[in-house]
Amino acid sequence: MTAPIIIVGAGQAGLQTAESLRSEGYTGSLTMIGDEPCTPYHRPPLSKAYLLGEFTAAQLTIRTAEALAKKGIELRAGIMVGAIDRAANRLRLTNGDELDYASLCLATGARPRPLPLPGADLEGVFPLRTLADTQAIAARLPSASHVVVIGGGFIGLEFAAVARKLGKAVVVLEAAPRLMPRAVTPVMSDFFRDLHVAHGVDIELGAAVSALIGDQGKVVAVRTADHREFPADLVLVGIGILANTELAQQSGLECQQGIVVDACSRTADPHIVAAGDCTARRLADGTLLRLESVQNAVEQGKSAAAALLGKERPFSTNPWFWSDQYDIKLQMVGLAAGCDRTVLRGDMGKRKFSAFHYRGQKLIAVDSINSPEDHMPARKLLDLALSPAPDEVADLSRPLNALINR
């Protein structure tokens, strides 16, 4: 019997790789190994609908075990891979088992960046990444009254919105001078600060945390570098993620904050591809791009499967992301880094607008607030590398679709 294709990781990227292998015609054996003790699930709703009680855990399931089996995908859940022996095309599991592979996809994901401070391990301090993390938070929330969120990024702000909806007092401590500094431009940072303040959240910018204070093992406050203390009975730490690159690194594959892959999700080893949050993609100009998103997992999963079957399917679309906070839907496409001009379409005061970001004459990113009718054409504009003039996109009387097909 020939060895299977093995996918390490059973998240969105791993699952996409497995299913794309099947839809592209691979009929050999296929094994997906996941360290979480469950079938693949949708992570994005964890910090939103799931914590609000709108979805149950079962509703997060992307595929049941039966659905996977029907497609000939063997899921080994709750299992850790300890090492890759690339010379022998073999995996060593932490339980001592060894598995031969014909080829391998690393879809190992990422883990929350730990808070390197005293008190980070106190009871009541949580990361928010997995279903288990979120269930632990959900168990704690009913008895919590003072929530402190460390980190004003997507996860932190989505959780802050949930906690406010549930009636908690909420403080967000962000070390940078604005919210979501890595992901959005200052105009959007300001919009979200105003939004959260209007909902009663205490947003503290430039607030570097120095320690978490405990009493009998439980967190009771968060202290900042300027000696302020914020009472807390639940602390959410959302300060980013670290790619799980250890397996790849130990086996000698190139890693730079992520497993380095090309546009087709290939590593330097012809038998190994990688996809999703664990990767850093080499762009045409030689720089590396790390994306942390569902779209990235899905696109790279499709590319990885194609590559394993000897085909080239380069990642060709612009990155897109979304976030839900209160009644606001943020949809973003492109990367706004390096933008030197921003033009608004719509009415910021009515919380329905889009920000078109330009570098010189070139449109590089569009952030939409409650405007899916802008976001979807913006994806097309960017994917077609079209740059309508700023006064055209600002003119609400001109449908964006008309700027695509002309």
Partner: protein, 106 residues
């Protein structure tokens, strides 16, 4: 539990008993019904869970403004009975409903 029939792009029919409150997208994807991508997991953010409602249309609440906007940008042909399946919640009213899945979602 309301029983929903999904017609996959291949013409294959799958019947699923959906717990009330589940979206038609959740029932289809978790059970491996072909023809839905649902990248965003049900946030009405991606327009890749497009379906054609073939029966029981009069028992559905009308689409929200967001859903209508997203429907303008589905990959397959938009028809009068187009909906996003993540926005359709199973209820006793919908027992026997039939939805058809389009040829492509992206």
């Amino acid at each position: 539990m309301p029983r929903i029939t999904y017609i996959e792009p291949s013409g294959n029919k799958t019947e699923i008993d959906l717990p009330e409150g589940w979206s038609l997208m959740q029932g289809a994807t978790s059970n491996g019904v072909e023809g839905i991508e649902a990248e965003c997991g049900g946030s009405c953010a991606c327009a890749t869970c497009h379906c054609y409602v073939e029966s029981h249309a009069d028992r559905l609440p009308p689409p929200s403004e967001t859903e209508l906007s997203m429907l303008e940008h589905v990959a397959a042909e938009r028809r009068p009975n187009s909906r996003l399946s993540c926005q359709l919640k199973a209820s006793a009213d919908l027992d026997g409903m039939i939805v058809r899945l389009p040829l492509c979602q992206s």
